[in-house]
Symmetry: C2
Subunit: 130 residues, 2 copies
């Protein structure tokens, strides 16, 4: 049974917006070469979740983990996404759909964000003009 992972993010009109998501997908493909990896978006960016999911089912995925790439968990993560996943369970009942907590709930992520914002480890800044 093939395993798959969907990185689920908000989406944006700006084509550059999705780059970090695609970069995480590339890294994940190297970390888990046995898994099928896709990005999917709630709105404004293609593909949406049903399209990415259908693609994975067509490729033989039997177990799909959906990872919400959201720092803050508002209505999108707590209501819209579970409803979308329920639709997937109805539409593709032979597949096991698993929904991870949003990345913003990870203590390790919160620790790293604090470290990145800390003045002593600040990597580079755009300073005031002279």
């Amino acid at each position: 049974m093939k395993q798959a992972i969907i990185l689920f993010a908000h989406g944006s009109r700006d084509p550059q917006w999705r780059r970090p998501m695609e970069s995480v997908a590339d890294r994940l493909t190297r970390l888990a070469p046995q898994a099928l990896v896709r990005c999917a978006y709630l709105e404004l960016t293609e593909p949406d979740l049903p399209a990415a999911a259908a693609d994975l089912v067509r490729l033989g995925a039997g177990e799909v983990t959906i990872v919400p790439m959201f720092l803050g968990a508002g209505r999108h993560v707590r209501e819209d996404l579970p409803a979308l996943v329920e639709d997937l369970r109805v539409r593709h009942p032979a597949v096991r759909w698993m929904l991870q907590p949003p990345v913003g709930e990870s203590e390790r992520l919160l620790d790293l964000l604090a470290e990145l914002a800390c003045p002593t480890v600040r990597p580079r800044v755009t300073d005031s003009p002279p």
Copy 2:
């Protein structure tokens, strides 16, 4: 001269949305106890950036670093935020305003996101109903 840090995020109608940002602010206050730390939001959540900045200036901040808590960098980060920071430089010329790159440009953050999404380190999931 007092140093200050503003964690700048999008904002949401959902009051739970801001919790990770506030959690990062708490961690940062422990990491950098000498710095004044505030959260500020582009829209829908209070305070906005001008209000948080004015508060810090009133408290004596002489150098303020703004950290964009955005994974994807679209128009909000590449256009709206630099314009807001320019306004701060005009309004408070005695203060040094520094704008960090968005957290989504951090290689360490992208590595960690891939690791969090990787099936072998998956901490907990909401599984399909039985």
